[in-house]
């Protein structure tokens, strides 16, 4: 970008954040937002103009708003019937059986290493992705409290779309498994792993059903 252009784009970024860039000009400018240079100009203006933000006020919206959000996002459709839960559980057990059967072990270089734990530094699990995300190895560092009949399940939070399960986390010792093509695909571009509390045997729906207990960033080793 030439200096002259940069000044112009920065001026437009200021008016974009302020809100006075309207209509076709605004839509046109939004197409430039994919550029990291333009993105950082916008971010800088957001920080500068944050000083204009007024004091917080509260007005309760009507109850219909939440219902609209729920139905637009299909959040209610997530509740499955008991029969569907058992079917999903059986399918995931079968899948784990197949993975276990075909799993072979050979040393692979670690590509990513993720510590999952508390912000105070306590690490519960050390998760390592080996090779080109071909295998997963989990080591328990400190035992995580867990009530009877429950399990901890590990998830990939992909760059877009729903979380993808990486299976149950061991309560002690270590675990080693080969990743499926779907799991490897979900890891491409993913920035975080998450741990949710699930019924023993894992999520019956294929998506996290219990509370998410931990979220950890993925970092190249």
């Amino acid at each position: 970008m030439k200096i002259r252009d940069r000044e112009l784009v920065d001026r437009l970024a200021g008016e974009y954040v302020l809100g006075t860039l309207r209509g076709r000009a605004r839509r046109h400018f939004e197409r430039w937002l994919v550029s990291p240079q333009v993105g950082s100009m916008v971010k800088a203006w957001e920080e500068r103009l944050a000083g204009l933000e007024p004091a917080v006020e509260r007005v309760a919206p009507s109850a219909g708003v939440w219902k609209g959000i729920e139905s637009r996002l299909g959040l209610r459709a997530r509740e499955h019937t008991p029969a569907a839960r058992w079917l999903a559980l059986a399918a995931s057990l079968l899948l784990f059986g197949i993975i276990g059967f075909f799993a072979w072990r050979q040393p692979l270089p670690t590509t990513q290493s993720v510590s999952i734990g508390e912000t105070n530094g306590t690490i519960y699990w050390q998760v390592e992705l080996l090779g080109e995300n071909q295998e997963l190895s989990v080591q328990v560092r400190n035992a995580h409290a867990l009530e009877a009949g429950k399990a901890h399940e590990l998830w990939i939070l992909p760059a877009s779309g729903n979380p993808v399960s990486l299976g149950l986390l061991p309560a002690s010792g270590e675990a080693h498994r080969t990743l499926t093509a779907a799991q490897r695909a979900a890891l491409v571009g993913a920035k975080q792993l998450a741990v949710s509390l699930e019924p023993a045997g894992g999520s019956p729906t294929g998506l996290p059903t219990g509370p998410v207990l931990h979220v950890a960033p993925l970092q190249p080793a």
Partner: protein, 188 residues
């Protein structure tokens, strides 16, 4: 309007957003309960009409759910992130609906609040000094645009000023603000 309760703690909102990224719909509901009155009041300031602001609020939370995975705690404060989404959403809606808002002050009762609760935004260092350096006209134009979402034309009508003057107050105001804030940073 209830101004007695304090802001939800930032750390809690950041964690709720992370859980939303993991598609925890229970966390999303909690986040909505804690923040929707704040975002709704902010949208009302810009859109004025309750029905339009409620439509915008729905869109805002759909975007929050879809973009939660992009929220990175270290890049800013959670409430500020959500308010920014709300502001852009309100501007988009004005564009689509071609709303003419000048003179419609049915909800002006929320627009005269000042000095209330802190808003979860980090004011840049030196901001008060720098905004004070601007001309009265520039300051008024920037506030009408940012806080209430007014367009150039609307500001010209509201302040009974020529459109050309409004545009140049805004352009010069933004430039001086940027200059002054960056001088402050160098001096610090």
């Amino acid at each position: 309007m209830d101004r007695t309760d304090t802001l939800p703690p930032e750390i809690e909102l950041a964690q709720l957003l992370q859980r939303c990224a993991a598609r925890d719909s229970g966390a999303f509901r909690t986040l909505y309960d804690k923040t929707s009155p704040i975002l709704f009041a902010r949208l009302l300031r810009m859109l004025r009409r309750r029905s339009v602001a409620e439509e915008a609020l729905q869109e805002v939370y759909v975007r929050i759910w879809e973009r939660a995975v992009q929220y990175e705690a270290h890049r800013g404060r959670a409430l500020a992130w959500m308010v920014t989404i709300a502001r852009y959403c309100a501007i988009d809606l004005m564009r689509r609906e071609r709303l003419t808002l000048v003179g419609d002050d049915a909800l002006a009762d929320i627009a005269d609040d000042s000095g209330g609760e802190s808003n979860g935004f980090d004011k840049p260092n030196n901001f008060d000094h720098c905004i004070g350096q601007l001309s009265e006209n520039a300051r008024k134009c920037l506030t009408l645009a940012f806080v209430e979402g007014r367009s150039h034309d609307e500001i010209a009508q509201l302040t009974t000023s020529p459109l050309g003057s409004v545009k140049s107050w805004i352009r010069r105001g933004l430039l001086s603000l940027k200059q002054c804030l960056s001088d402050g940073r160098q001096a610090a």
